[in-house]
Every structure is written in C-alpha cells, then in structure tokens.
Amino acid sequence: MMNILAVSINHHTAPVELREAFHLNSDEIKNLIHRVKEELFSEGLIISTCNRTELYGIPKDQKLDVLDIQNFIFKYKNNKEVKPENFQTFASSEAIKHLFKVISGIDSLLIGDNQIYHQVKEAFQTSEEMQFAGVLMKRIFDAATKTGKRAISETEISEGAVTVSYAAVQLIEKIFSSISKKSALIIGAGESGELAAKHLKDRGIGRLVITNRTLERAEKIARELDFETLPFNTFKEKMHEFDIILSATSADELIITKEDIRNTMKERNHTSLVLMDIAIPRDIDPSVKEIDYVFYHDIDSLNIIVEQNLSKRKFEIPRIEKIIDEEIDTFIGWYNSLEVAPTIKDLRDYFENIRAEEVGKNKNRFSTEDQEKVEIITKRIINKILHQPTVGLKKINDFGTTPEETAVKVNVLRDIFGINHNNKEEKE
C-alpha cells in the first residue's frame, strides 16, 4: 500500500488559540517545506488556514510514522500547550481521503465553504514551486481538485448563504431583480459593516455609501473598496436616496426610529426599502416592519436563512462521501497499476534467472547443436508457465477488481515467489 502520512490540527481537535499558534503564513510554509524536505518527506503538501494546519507527505524513510511527524511539529512550533490529542493523524488511503474531504468542504467549520478549495489549490502550487511535488503528489493534486470540482458542480454543498452578511445579500436579491440598479447605505464601519459592503460590492451594487460616527474609519474603508462616504450627522436626511440600508453599529440605543422610516418612505413614494439590522443591540426600531414595502430583517431572521442553508448542506454530505469514495477508488486503481507492471516484470525476471541458471549449469551435458534447442525449449516452457499469471495480473486492473483486492493479489504473488524486494522506492 502507498506510504503517505498526514497530520492535522484543526477545528475538530483544537481550540482557536492553538489553531492560531500553529497557523503558518506563506513565508513560514516555505521555510517549513525546506526543513521537511531535508528531514522527513521526499514530496508533500502543507495547508494552513484559520481553521487548520496540515502536513501531508511521502516519507523518505519507510520506518517514519505519524508520531515522528507530530514530534517534528512540536519542536518546530515549540508550543507547550499542545497535546497529542490536538492532532488528527492519517496514513495511506485514509490520508488521501482526508485531503479529499478537506478540499470538498465537508470537513470545514462552515460546511461547504468553497474558499478551502482555493486554499488547497494554492498549497499545491506552493509545493510545486518549491519542488516538493513529485509524480505522486501531482497525481494526488489532480484527483483532489477533481473531487473538489465534482462536489461543487454535482451537489448543492456550496449553495445558499451561510453567513449573516451573505444571507442579507441573498434576501436583498429576493426582493430586487437587479442589484446593479440599486443603491445601498451602510451604517457603521466595523467588521460586519465592512464585510456586508464587500458582499454588496461583489454582487455589483449600483451605488454604495458608508457612514460612521468616526468618519475617518468610514473614509479608510471607502478608499479601500472605492465607494462614497456620508457624514453620520446628516445620513437621515439622505436615507430616501437608498433602496437598501444596512446598519451594523455598536450603538447602545436605536439610531433609526419608525418615524424616520415613515418620512423616508413618503419621500421615496413608497417604493420598496430593505432594512438590514445586523447590529447587536439592534440599531433600527423593529416595528418599522409594519410599514408597507419596508422589508426589515434583523440578525435573528437572517440566522434562520443561515441555519436552513447549513441543514441543506449537511444533507449533501453523503453524496459527497460517495464522490470521494469513487475518486479514492480511481486514485488507488491508478496507484496499484504502478505495482502490477513491475510485478509482471519481476516475476518474469525471477523465472528467467532460474531458467538461465539451470540451463547454464547443465549445458555441457548437451551437444553444441542441442544447447540451442534447450535454450529455445526452456524459454518456451517458462513462457507457457507464465502466460496465465501474466494475463491474470493484467486483468486485475481491467475487470472490476477493487483497489484493495488488487493490492492483496499483487502482494500475495510477490510473497509466494519471494520477489518482495521493494520497488516502491523507485516509484516514489
């Protein structure tokens, strides 16, 4: 079986402080690849995101196991709080399976998060740049990206909003047909406001304006994302200009009253207005929802959408696991095909050596004329003996044999004839 090992510290096994401690930026990853290449792996992969840091590799030394890799990481990061149980370890096809789960998003904290797909792809690119990806890792990369793509295209694992700010955008799109013709006002330049602004910009909002008590902060974000600002003390006078108002301030009291919205609606001639209140405590008087054509939603209602979408995504997991199993089978099938061809060659070499040795020992018993005949006859006998095993071995990959069965058959054959000298090293 293939000798690939993986070690992971992730959101299943470690709290955020530990995950942060083991997080690696791109320079650290490159530095670690140098060290790992020297000490542990002939080829491999390092993934590090905010929710996981993982090492995959083909050991240089066959005796190396996952504990050695764990110890290596302990030493590298020199973190005393981390314990062995904060790591997940995988070997052989389980390591590949874990990677496929990661890239397809079903192992993510936010199930179906397709950002991980791009992060794994970047990690593979880094490995290639650092000459840390050989034949096997490249093949694993191809299989992993294929799995990730299939998960996205054949299932609904990435469908629907699973963050509050994105749910707000999904809701807005259920009210307005063309967001590019609409204008939005973001109140509050904190993290939530900024994230919502980014989402709206990504969806092509027509006009985006931000207001904040500290105008400098709003101006900074506006510069970064290229949109307008509005002084906080005058924003109420301009509210009627906006189809979408998203509030995310840290104010302790309501900043928009029902009367404000009533006046705004009059000035808007009662055209639809979407109010998204993603602040805690809330910024907008919830009773505004009683006004016709005002679509008011707070963090609780947006969370309903998020929960529904997460449930739908969880429902897709078995379908993705099926895709993963199919891709694992294909990959292991390919891997085992690497073993079948050398086995045929080794078997033929083994018999040929016996034949040549025996013929060599006894050739003086025959006349010069007969020696040639003996040579031909013994070769023919060997060919006849080996015909069926050769055909059988070739068939192993062709006729619905599972990868595990292939590996077992190849290994049994090698054991029986004592040709178990390892050619895996050549392969890897």
Binding site: L171, I175, S177, H270, S272, F295, H297, I304
Partner: protein, 274 residues
Amino acid sequence: MSYTITILNVLLPLLYIGTFGIYAYDFWKGEKRFTNSKRVLLFLTLLFHVVYLLVRTIFLSHPPITNVFEIFTVLAFSISFSYFILELVTDIRGTGPFIIIISIIFQVISSLFINDITFVKEILRSNLLGVHVFSALVGYSGITISAVYGFLYLTLYKDIKLNKFGLIFNRLPNLEVLETLSYYSAVIGFILLTMAIVIGIIWLPKAFPNYSYTDPKLIGTFTVWALYGIGILSKTFGKWRGKKVVFLSIIGFVIAILSTMFTNFLSSSFHSFY
C-alpha cells in the same frame, strides 16, 4: 375522426395533469432534474391540444368557440401556451405549476361536459366573431396569468415580511420580477380585451337586434376592463405599485370568472350560446 376527438378529449386532461406533476415535482424538490424534460412535455401537451382543436374544427365544421365548454378548452390551451412563450422568453421555469393548474381546471370541465355539436347558429359563423373570441380568450389568458403572478407576489411579499423562508422563498423569482410579469401580462390582457370589446360593440347590433348594454356579461367584462385600465394607468404614471396593482389584477380575474359562470350557467344572457 369522432374516435380521435374522444381519445384526445380524455387524453388532454391527463397530459396536463402529467405536465403539472413534473413541474410541481421540480418545484417541490428543487433538484432541477426535469428542467428541460418538463418543458418538452408541456410542448407535447400543447401540440396534442392543437391537433385536438384542429380535428374538432374540421370534423364539426366550425371553430371550437360556439359554447362555453369549447371556449374552456381553447382557454386552457391559450393559458398554457402563453405561459410556454413566457417561459421561453424569460427562462423563469419555477412558476409553471401555478399556471398549468388553471389549464387543468378549464380542460377537465371542458372534457367532462363538451358535446360534439355539428349544428351551430348562423350568427356564430361570422368572421368577426372569430376575431372577437380569439382576442377575448388571449386577453383572458393574459389576465389569468397576471392574477397568478399577482397571487405569487403577495405570497412571497408576506413570507418575506414574516421571515418565512420556505419553498415559496426558495423557489420563486424575486418580488420585482413577479410584479413585472404580473404587470406585463395584465397589459397584454388589457389590450386584447379592449380589442374584443371594440369588435363586440361593432358586431353586436348586427348579430343581436335585441341586445342590451345592461347584460350581465357586458357589465362583467366592462368592470374587468375598467379595473385593469385603472391599475395599468396608475402603475404607468407611478401612483400605485406592488400590492395595490396586484390586488386589482386578482379582483379583476375573480370578477371575470364569476361573470363567466353567472352568464353561462345562471342567467339568460344573449352571450350564452348553448
């Protein structure tokens, strides 16, 4: 020929029900498994319906517009055909079940009660009548579709306001699209209804010397026409929008249905032809 008419008369409701079933399944499951096949089935249903209407016209020697049950089958066809065109133009495929079910109702009633009458009154053989009935039927299809989209608009509006994010929220197009579809269907319906009324006014004195402008059918049709006119003008000039226009569309549709039922089944109107 008569045998073909009988077979198609039984087959059509089944075809509409089958098409509705596939549209409803896709709407319910949201898997888009039958995205293209449901459209093909709708096309085949409409094709069979065209054959049925043609065979009736040839065999009975008059277009199928001489009694209310013939009108119903044409209306069933016209509604689904209008939806088919709308689906092709807009590529909005999720609203099919709500429209096709109206065709099922009209077609089932028609199939149950339709008679193969070969003799028709002379006045029903007029060419003007053909244009009058055709424009009225397409007009009524327009207001039917407008009312359905109006109803869907109100349902989605209510669901969004009440934080109900279920099937309606997940499957229907957005509010603005539903409002636009309802509005444009109403405009098309209104224009064709205007045509039907104008032709009717020209043709009426010639065909029925004893007609009356107080006839329930005429009052009903004028009321529907006036309601749609008010709604369309108000929306066009920016005074009304959303719920108000949609309400008007639904009320117009209900009056049209009630007027048809009253005229044909309850009262003695010159507009009853069977």
